[in-house]
């Protein structure tokens, strides 16, 4: 066995370990991105929930504002309209994200971290 300087062999090992770790990271990342199969019903549920929760929240805010300002139906109606907009926007975002996951197979980091903007 040829004698090596223990320091260089350690740093070599370090480099190899680093490389292996990086490779494993990439593999894991890839796996994690493709792993969770989304059943169709789950996707539909996610989209429906976005719409409902937007309407609930904006309607609720409107209701309390009405109570506070004494303008019974009006603020709530306006907020419900706004809520429709918010719901549509959230629904669109979720749908686009699901779409991106489906078609690209391996979505880039960005598409997972932030949904595509509608401008």
């Amino acid at each position: 066995m040829t004698e090596e300087d223990p320091k260089t062999s350690f740093s070599e090992l370090d480099a190899r370990l680093h490389k292996a770790r990086q490779k494993e990271d990439e593999r894991v990342t890839r796996l994690a991105k493709t792993a969770p199969e989304k059943p169709g019903a789950g996707a539909a549920m996610r989209i429906a929930v976005e719409m409902i929760s937007a309407l609930l929240v904006s309607g609720g805010i409107g209701w309390y504002l009405d109570d506070w300002l004494g303008t019974r139906p009006w603020v709530m109606l306006a907020m419900l309209l706004l809520g429709c907009g918010v719901g549509l926007r959230n629904t669109y975002r979720t749908a686009m994200r699901l779409n991106a996951d489906l078609h690209e197979g391996l979505p880039s980091d960005d598409s997972v971290a932030k949904p595509p903007e509608e401008k």
């Binding site: 989304k38 929240v57 918010v86 959230n90």
Partner: protein
Amino acid sequence: MSAENHSPLAQFEIKRFVEMNVGGIDASFTNSSLWMVITVVAVTAMLTLSMRGRAMVPGRWQSVAELSYEFIANMLRENVGSEGRRYFPFVFTLFMFILFSNVLGLIPYSFTSTSHIIVTFGMAIVVFLGVTLIGIIRHKGKFLTLFAPSGVPVFLMPLLIPIEIISYLTRPVSLALRLFANMMAGHTLLKVFGGFVVALGVFGIAPLFFIVALYGLELIVAFLQAYVFTILTCLYLNDAIHLHH
């Protein structure tokens, strides 16, 4: 089981085991609390007992514990980055708690605490408030830029900012609603088809097969909903830390 309790919704009934009243608030120990305690004990037992060996080559249980650790660690790394590391304990606890209560709820005669919206909403509001506080502490006033979408003409701002704010406020509601609705719908469906099996006698074999399939699906849903809740927490955390939408 009593005879009159055949409604598919009877399984969601809250039963008070120990009546308690703290300052006018009903804080009774219920079947829901009991199953939450069981969930916490089960998670703790599984993680501590399985890791007791600390073997280099993990056995089955140790692998499960290590896999779940890695699963969440990777999720945080991918979606939040290295700064997400310090929030790992919270996110991991959240995931394990939801996963275990979903799965434990599938055991016959057990109770699914996540099928009650107050429980899921409680968790969602903690996530929401926590994430908002983290964002405010990290970025002070700049946190508000989260509500101003970039690259939009100024005259649209008065419309878009309220939309962004409401959209931000819907987060806890949609988080809570999604988990609750999935769990409750699944369990109700199981119970309804369970009723068919009894009612149809010999022909009950058909819905019985359906239940077996549905049960498998419910197991997937139990995992998937825990996953969705956790990954959305990660995404919200990412928004708060990096301020891009």
